[in-house]
Amino acid sequence: MFPLLYSLYLSFFAVDILSGTFKFIGIANYVNLFSDGDFLTALKNTTIFVVGTIPFTTILALIAALAVNARLPGASFFKPALVMPSITSMVVMALIFTHLYSPNGYVGALLNLCGIPVPENGLLLSEKTALTSIMVMDILIAFGYYMLLYLAALQNIPRNLYEAAELDGAGAWEKFRYVTLPHLKPITLFILVINTIRSFQIFVEIFVMTKGGPLNSTLTAVYFVYDVGFVKFDMGYASAAAYILFIIIALFSALQMKYFGGREART
């Protein structure tokens, strides 16, 4: 609690950490942030990242969980294989993908084979492809973990509900639509909220792979906070940026609770 409150306190000061001087400046840090091009770019990129990854991660996780739950051939191999990236260190995964995305990497070669043009200096050094490449990586790494959550929820649905639906003449789609999906609503809400918070906090991938470049195209909110706070040591400004991010995450989570939550979600 103390760091949270102290950070709020700092956000109203111009702090020189080395000389230990604190000058009260009211809401100037907050006002300056909304005219700071880098911060606005960071918020824009973060929003693109969140909106662009969460639906794919969630849908892929659900599809994978349904496939594993249906005990399709190879499910026992794919279950650990899909989970493996999400339990591997993000730094390691980011380094692996940095090589895959390099000018001589496998991803570029694969895209070339498919006739898709690849930027000359690699996917991470073009402002048009850098953020998208990191988003794709993030989806591929993260969905395995959410698949496990969906799998647990799927295995908790009582079998007699499916039998009753079959007696009523329900087909596969009807069983999914009217039995499976309603029972997955609470876990879907949980996944959405957790994934939203995690995605808004994207940092390691950026720190390892691009440092926010090229041309700020991968600059995200937490990386901005890190840069201001721990490279330039402007702790007041960094605290204000962190609080704005905190408010945005809280708003997003509240909206999700409102629109995707419901009585089932709380049972």
Binding site: D16, I17, L18, S19, G20, S102, P103, N104, E120, N121, G122, L125, E127, K211, G212, G213, P214, L215, F230, V231, K232, F233
Partner: protein
């Protein structure tokens, strides 16, 4: 008035018990204090009681380099038996943050190794000890004191210096039908060579241009700016990027980028080592990396090109030694940094790490330097190198320069327009 009846009825046994409890607690406290004093005074034997302990934070973590630093410290300790030096290793990735946090928490080490471009940030805020009085006798011995001076006072001693030169792949140049007659080349000659090598094939690049890497990209552009006669901050302390010299340097640099590849420094070094890059603007560490990873590589080095073919001005970087303002034993600590920075001792470290020079004008009389043409050229370039202006907000200024160069490389504006914008932004930083 004393009520005798009450006095007699009073439970004196309890009072005595309390009295003995207090007395016992007093004895325990006294014994604890005495025991603590005995432990603190006698822990290391009587001879250690007067020993001075210095905390030294340094960045040499490579096992060989660390062994040399340790051996130097042992030498110092044997000559100064009253002083003990405790070493803490830092990495370049997080060392700066750790140092700042140590200062802000009021618990900095006594002695710190600092990168040349970090010193103003610390000295200008009163975090470093004024060592002017301790350095008078070694000022003529060393070069490149500037980053360590603030307000006419000395705050850091230059320890180990290095610079950047241009490495070129001789085999690729031969294949492209170009060559350098001398180690100093003109802008036109160099651009032509980059163009030719870049045309050798898809997997070969001419000039290795740094991508946007904080604290790196500006070090690659500034030598071209300085070599063209331009400045970031003029003598009056004003921003001066919007000048004809800066424009010609910027346009030239962007032309070089056209005939090359954009990548991170480590990838550019790797490409050069594997023979896929024609020209790489890099530091002394690359000499060691080539020796370790591809000793067969046929390469040479040239100094920074200039418009007329004279030796250009390169970027000098270095390690400096400073004392924190809270150093309890400044005399002993100053003795230690003077010992480490002594040219002979520094040369021992340079030989171990395979690059760098003691901060002296004269090249050490050592085959490690004198029998290696490339190292000798590095030293010539070092004497014709500069460090960025010692400004407390340099971290913000370098970011403006890096963003300007990056926008230019990605064709996000005309060079003249980008220079003008950068000058305006730097002026704001200088005037705040």
């Amino acid at each position: 008035m004393l009520d005798l009846a009450v006095f007699v009825k009073y439970d004196w046994s309890m009072e005595y018990l309390k009295y003995y409890k207090i007395k016992l607690a007093g004895y325990i406290c006294a014994l604890t204090v005495i025991f603590s004093l005995v432990i603190s005074c006698g822990g290391g034997g009587s001879s250690d009681s007067a020993k001075i302990t210095l905390e030294f934070w340094q960045f040499w973590t490579d096992p060989d380099a660390k062994a040399t630093v340790t051996s130097l410290i042992e030498d110092f300790q044997s000559r100064n038996p009253d002083t003990e030096v405790n070493v803490t290793d830092l990495t370049w990735g997080e060392g700066h943050s750790k140092i700042v946090v140590a200062f802000s928490s009021g618990n900095p080490p006594d002695i710190i190794e600092l990168g040349s471009d970090w010193i103003p940030e610390f000295s200008n805020r009163g975090a470093l000890y004024d060592i002017s009085g301790f350095t008078a006798d070694i000022r003529d011995k060393h070069i490149m004191w500037d980053p360590g001076i603030f307000g006419g006072k000395y705050y850091a001693v230059p320890w180990l210096l290095d610079t950047r030169v241009i490495f070129y792949n001789i085999d690729l140049m031969n294949r492209a039908g170009v060559s350098f007659e001398d180690a100093t080349v003109s802008w036109d000659e160099f651009l032509f060579a980059c163009q030719k090598v870049n045309g050798l094939g898809k997997d070969i690049a001419g000039f290795g241009a740094n991508s946007f890497e904080k604290h790196r990209l500006y070090k690659k552009f500034l030598p071209f700016l300085w070599s063209a006669g331009g400045e970031v901050i003029d003598r009056m302390g004003e921003s001066s990027l919007d000048s004809p010299e800066a424009l010609s340097a910027f346009e030239y640099y962007l032309n070089l980028v056209k005939y090359g590849a954009i990548d991170t420094q480590s990838n550019l070094d790797q490409r050069f080592i594997s023979g896929k890059l024609g020209f790489n603007f890099s530091g002394g560490w690359l000499l060691k990396n080539i020796h370790n990873n591809n000793p067969e590589l046929n390469f040479g080095v040239i100094t920074v090109p200039t418009p007329d073919g004279e030796m250009g001005i390169s970027f000098a970087g270095g390690e400096y030694l400073a004392l924190s303002s809270r150093c309890a034993h400044p005399e002993a600590a100053a003795r230690f940094i003077k010992f480490l920075a002594d040219p002979e001792n520094t040369a021992r470290l340079c030989e171990t790490v395979g690059f760098g020079f003691p901060s002296t004008k004269q090249l050490p009389d050592d085959p490690f330097y004198t029998e290696n043409r490339n190292r000798m050229l590095f030293h010539e370039q070092l004497l014709n190198s500069r460090m960025p202006p010692a400004h407390e907000d340099w971290v913000y200024i370098e970011e403006v320069i890096e963003k300007m160069v990056e926008r230019g490389m990605y064709r996000k504006g005309e060079p003249a327009e980008l220079l003008k914008q950068a000058e305006t932004e730097i002026s704001k930083i200088l005037n705040r």
